[in-house]
């Protein structure tokens, strides 16, 4: 598995296309693909958004039913904030991805470097994305991070790609 990360619009997809010679029909987008598609696709882009969609599906449109809910209300204290459906649990889903599609190129934005969000659902999304990302990075043979379109291999064999970052 190869993981590509970095901030939004850092040139991750562009880099993946050029580096790995991907055709458009080999790339699925976590923004709107059927979740199962990622188990067979050659490349997945916006995996962080797919995590969000799994959480939304679990909360019936709300992130675990936690967003927008006042934390002091009964609804939030009894229902929101925890995965209900195991199949929609981002970490379980990610483990399945590693298992069934071990050669995929997974592209995932970094989303955790801001102020802690006020909404609980947003905090949970950051958390689940962080955990899932750590798991993918741990499993991946190579992790590449892009900044201003410049790739830096932060894990794996530097020699195998064209690196413009620190060497």
């Amino acid at each position: 598995m190869i993981m590509i990360t970095g901030g939004a619009f850092a040139g991750k997809l562009e880099f993946a296309r050029a580096q790995f010679g991907l055709n458009e029909d080999e790339i699925v987008d976590g923004t709107d693909c059927a979740p199962e598609d990622v188990f067979t696709a050659k490349c997945i882009v916006h995996y962080e958004r797919l995590i969000r969609r799994l959480m939304e599906a679990d909360g019936k449109g709300d992130l675990y039913g936690a967003n927008g809910a006042d934390e002091k209300t009964e609804a939030a204290s009894t229902g929101g904030g925890a995965p209900k459906n195991k199949n929609l649990c981002p970490l379980t889903f990610t483990d399945r991805l590693l298992c069934e599609n071990p050669d995929a190129v997974v592209i995932m934005d970094e989303i955790g470097s801001g102020i802690i969000p006020l909404e609980k659902g947003e905090r949970l999304w950051r958390e689940q994305t962080g955990r899932a990302g750590c798991r993918i990075a741990e499993y991946a043979d190579m992790v590449i991070r892009l900044c201003c379109g410049v790739p830096e291999v932060i894990k794996g064999m530097r020699e195998s790609i064209v690196v413009g970052g620190r060497s």
Binding site: M108, S113, G114, R126, C134, E138, R145
Partner: protein, 211 residues
Amino acid sequence: MMTLVTGGAKCGKSHYAEQLLEKFAGKKYYIATMEPYGEEAMEAIARHRKLRAGKGFETIERYTDIDGLAAPGGAGEGTAESDCGCTSADCEHEEKRAPELSPVCAPAEFRLPRGCGILLECTANLCANEMFKDGRICDPTERILRGFRRLKDISAELVIVTNEVGSDGISYEEGTAEYIRVLGTVNRLTAQMADRVVECVYGIPVVLKQE
């Protein structure tokens, strides 16, 4: 040796920071700066405690005034396990503390022993605690850095964990904007002081500075 570990939320910073002190044979202290209020704080603390369990750290909860933990004039060697001994006279930690958390605030006279290993987590909480503690905003940059400098002087191995909070592109109201500015400054100055600076990216350590 002083290491600053940074990164965004849930990027594996704590785990990496603990690994840095894994082989350290001397006395190891974990300075926790997060005040244990609220359900999510409790969950985070419980998770971190589990991560640290069996790794030989003695936990000290210290929400402000790091300098006081290492400044001369204390009892020298001592145990951190005691009643809440925050230096301020109006300390309310005792009553606010959840019963499941044993009080491990260091007593006022407690001082970290020379030559110990220290893991402080994290600057972002410490900075917020120092900035907003009296209901008004102050600039704690100097105060925090004085504390860190003191920790560096007395310890054999120091690891400080901080957080990246300035990269979400959102314009915040004055208090939060000031916090982002102050934490950014504290982080830069801490990095200058450190021998090594490492950023964690989804669990992968990226070395930014190594002397």
